[in-house]
């Protein structure tokens, strides 16, 4: 099967035969490479999996911008004009949801009134999904509750609560949101804006399609509203997410760097094996030179051996790393098949390439030593 290969690259034939001559030694040398590849690839893949599960948890955080009045500058609420301004500068596809906010006495079970924050949104379906019931569109009556409140007070669509003495029917329980988000509805009670006496808005939720768009929108809002005085505070989490991802990248690079040391050790073991081999085969190499092999031919034979060790070790390492990657992704992300991602392919390829390069570099000195031996000296024994 390999005959055409050997015919084309005779040095591969010689190299393979030479390596099988001292099977145990060759095996141990490539075992070093195998371990190095596994260390690099699986640490790399572990980092990728961590980063993936992290961004999965953060979800849409990066797409969200919140605009609030700057109380330090004496602005207590956002006016309709502000809202229009925000809508003007926000690009296409960006939803702008103004939010009213107030404190009202709320009775969940007809017994006791407690003071609760209530939120008013005109089109809550832009921001929230229902886990029970349906978010009405348009939202004119009834109430929406977060999962935490719903569980605490055993509320379902159709239940009634009293807000400021008025009976309100629960229309939907809202789906849990991202833990870090300012929009997280878990412990919120949302009513139509008509319940509120205040004219102004307490906050504006701006949802973009991508983190970059969110970032651009945030700058545009700052430019439009904070032109003369700092009227609003614009909060965006996109840049925070970016920073965290950059941190992950750095940690990953450090991990892979540490793992590379094991490949370095493997390279030294190949150097050792090849040096032993050149000493043992001194006479054979002398004969090769005598029968007309140029120095570079001998160099080629020896380097092919080192390369072969690297390729075999690297391939075995890649296969085992894939197995390790399946396990890692199964336990961290919960989906073993997530190992087949581009970033992981890159780590596998890099580990393999590094293994082969390390082997060739380690083979250079022994090969050079073998090639530059005087044939007369080598044949004298």
């Amino acid at each position: 099967m390999l005959d055409p290969l050997y015919r084309r690259f005779p040095s591969v034939l010689m190299a393979r035969r030479n390596l099988t001559r001292t099977k145990m030694r060759s095996l141990l040398a490539s075992l070093g490479i195998v371990i190095g590849v596994i260390a690099i690839a699986s640490l790399g893949m572990f980092g990728v999996a961590l980063q993936y599960s992290f961004t999965q948890n953060l979800g849409d955080l990066g797409n969200q911008v919140t605009v609030s009045p700057n109380r330090d500058a004496g602005v207590t609420s956002l006016s309709e004009r502000d809202i229009r301004e925000i809508q003007r500068v926000a690009g296409p596809g960006v939803t702008v949801s103004p939010v009213k906010q107030g404190i009202e006495p709320v009775a969940y079970d007809r017994k006791q009134n407690t003071s609760e924050f209530i939120y008013g949104l005109e089109r809550p379906s832009e921001v929230y999904n229902a886990s029970e019931g349906r978010v009405p569109e348009p939202f004119r009556s009834g109430a929406l509750v977060g999962t935490t409140i719903a569980e605490e007070h055993d509320l379902h669509p159709g239940s009634t609560i009293a807000v400021n003495g008025t009976t309100v029917r629960v229309r939907a329980v809202l789906e849990s949101g991202d833990a870090f988000s300012r929009l997280n509805p878990d412990s919120r009670l949302i009513l139509p804006p008509s319940y509120f006496h205040e004219r102004g808005y307490a906050q504006v939720y701006v949802t973009a399609r991508t983190g970059t768009q969110a970032n651009e929108t945030a700058s545009a809002i700052r430019g439009a509203l904070n032109d003369r005085e700092q009227r609003v505070t614009v909060n965006e989490l996109g840049s925070l997410v970016d920073t965290i991802e950059q941190q992950f990248q750095i940690i990953n690079t450090v991990l892979v760097g540490i793992a590379s040391i094991s490949l370095l050790v493997a390279g030294i073991s190949i150097l050792n094996v090849m040096l032993m081999s050149t000493v043992e085969r001194r006479e054979e190499i002398g004969v090769l030179r005598a029968v007309g092999y140029q120095k570079r031919d001998v160099l080629k034979v020896m380097l092919t051996e080192a390369t072969l060790l690297g390729i075999v070790g690297g391939l075995v390492g890649v296969v085992l790393s894939l197995g390790a990657g399946l396990a890692i992704n199964h336990y961290t992300v919960g989906d073993a098949m997530a190992v087949f991602r581009l970033a992981n392919a890159w780590y596998l390829l890099a580990a393999f390439g590094f293994a082969v390069v390390t082997s060739i570099v380690s083979g250079l000195y022994p090969a050079w030593k073998a090639a530059s031996e005087e044939p007369v000296e080598a044949l004298r024994g």
Binding site: P10, S11, L13, M14, R17, N18, T20, R21, E283, E284, G286, V287, L288, R289, A290, V291, G292, Y293, Q294, K295, D297, K300, P375, V376, L379
Partner: protein, 226 residues
């Protein structure tokens, strides 16, 4: 036709502070199809002379002409190329590659050439030295005489004009030695290859055309076999 013409070859080695003279002005010439032995005690410079004739070493002084071309001052790469084309080597300890079969060992000198007829030629050479049934055997599956035949076949793969043999019978019993010498004689006669054998073995002299005696790096009397 003269294939080797060596004039006043001198070889000095520098070891430590001393200068050792291995060859002290040797003239030597060889014609096509001639079988010559070089005899002499240990340290007489036999191997040094063979190395110089085989382009494995360069003389300190003197000129060496190979097939009419002055090769004294050639660099390593050119000497290697010329050695491959014109000279075959046979060693006392055979020096076959233990990992390769008999055919592959014969092919070794041409292994890096694009040559589709290489294997057929190697098989033909092995058959001619009587190893047609041992083609795929590894060296450790062959006897000493068989190994030396493989080595002879290897020395002929490039159609050399000269074969240089260093103690070719040194590791063989007398009977096997005779077979190997028969083989050399036949190659010299049939293929017009010039053969130089450096040896201690008196037996060789029964087969050669003439014997050159080396004593302390200079040529003693020459014996011409009738």
């Amino acid at each position: 036709m003269t294939v080797i013409d060596a004039y006043d070859l001198v070889k000095r080695y520098r070891t430590g502070g001393e200068t050792l003279e291995a060859l002290g002005g040797v003239d030597f010439s060889l014609s096509a199809g001639e079988f010559v032995s070089i005899m002499g005690p240990s340290g007489s410079g036999k191997t040094t002379l063979l190395n110089i004739l085989g382009l494995l070493a360069t003389p300190t002084e003197g000129r060496l002409t190979l097939n009419g071309r002055d090769v004294t001052d050639l660099g390593d790469r050119k000497r290697t190329r010329l050695r491959k084309r014109t000279i075959g080597f046979v060693f006392q300890h055979f020096y076959l590659l233990p990992t390769l079969s008999a055919v592959e060992n014969v092919e070794v000198p041409r292994l890096f050439d694009r040559d589709p007829g290489r294997t057929a030629r190697a098989e033909d050479l092995l058959t001619r030295v009587g190893l047609g049934d041992r083609l795929d055997h590894r060296p450790d599956e062959l006897s000493g005489g068989q190994k030396q035949r493989v080595a002879i076949a290897r020395s002929l793969i490039n159609d050399p004009t000269i074969v240089l043999a260093d103690e070719p019978t040194g590791s063989l019993d007398r009977e096997t030695g005779r077979q190997i010498l028969d083989e050399f004689r036949r190659i010299a006669d049939e293929q017009d290859v010039a053969i130089v054998a450096v040896t201690h073995d008196e037996l060789v002299n029964e087969y050669v055309d003439r014997t050159v005696n080396l004593v302390d790096g200079t040529v003693g009397k020459e014996v011409l076999n009738a």
